[in-house]
């Protein structure tokens, strides 16, 4: 194991999110559940198709419905895995907010040091800190798709 890792260029070992989480037991369980679910949906669709051919009119609707559910399950699964590779923490809005916060924080500090004034600036600062605290609370719930990793 270590010899193969040593042989690889550093850049290849670098990615923060590896595909390896996909073969962990918990994920294998989910993969299995998905395969069974999709196979089951397709089987149900086929069963409804046979019933429809036998003259059950209602079954025609389900003949088309079950494959749609199967497709939906596959899309759901693919998107879930893709979300794991591109964590929501790195979404553009989040980075932008973080950048704004950094910029503003440094600018505010500079002004405060320069002027040495107290009252109105502090109110602003308190309001801004409250805003940062709210942001922090908000961000706490992000990345919940990682619950499985």
């Amino acid at each position: 194991m270590s010899s193969t890792q040593a042989g690889r260029p550093a850049a290849e070992q670098a990615p923060a999110v590896s595909w390896r989480f996909l073969v962990r037991p918990r994920w294998l369980g989910w993969h299995l559940a998905m395969v069974v679910a999709v196979a089951g949906m397709l089987a149900l669709g086929w069963w409804q198709f046979r019933r429809a051919e036998e003259g059950n009119a209602l079954s025609w609707a389900y003949t088309f419905e079950w494959p749609i559910f199967a497709v939906f399950a596959v899309v759901f699964w693919a998107k879930t895995i893709r979300d794991e590779f591109s964590p929501p923490d790195t979404d553009p809005a989040g980075t932008e907010l973080a950048a704004v916060a950094r910029l503003d924080g440094s600018a505010g500090l500079g002004e405060g040091q320069e002027a040495g004034q107290a009252e109105p600036e502090d109110e602003d600062l308190a309001a801004y800190n409250a805003y940062l605290a709210r942001l922090q609370d908000q961000v706490k719930n992000h990345g919940r798709w990682h619950g499985l990793r």
């Binding site: 609707a61 389900y62 559910f69 939906f72 759901f76 879930t80 503003d104 801004y128 805003y131 798709w145």
Partner: protein
């Protein structure tokens, strides 16, 4: 996000209502009176509505960044009578309202800094 929430809610209420009619009117009629009309028509209708519900619920779940458990619960709720309404209230209380508050805080901040 408001549009996604609205679409989800509309579909949740419509799908939930149709499913209640199907289960508490249609199936008793079929079993007791041998009348298949409601089960056939409303059953097909619920099937179509549920597909739309799936899409709206899934889009909202992604927007709210729910984990797999709550997402699957939201999606499955459209197939179990009454649960649609319960889950809609639960999602609103637990996820939609906090997300809205976060959004408002994010919008309020720039003016607070400017003033």
């Amino acid at each position: 996000m408001d549009a996604a929430v609205r679409r989800y809610r509309v579909m949740a209420y419509i799908t939930g209502t149709v499913l209640i009619v199907l289960c508490f009117v249609g199936i008793p009629l079929q079993v007791a009176a041998g009348n298949d009309v409601i089960v056939n028509d409303v059953g097909t209708l619920h099937g179509i509505l549920y597909i739309i519900y799936l899409v709206t619920a899934y889009l909202l779940a992604r927007r709210l960044r729910l984990s797999i458990g709550p997402t699957i619960l939201m999606l499955a709720a459209g197939t179990i009578p009454v649960l649609t309404f319960v889950v809609e209230r639960w999602v609103t209380r637990k996820y939609i309202n906090p997300a809205r508050q976060g959004q408002q805080a994010g919008q309020a901040a720039p003016t607070a800094r400017a003033g």
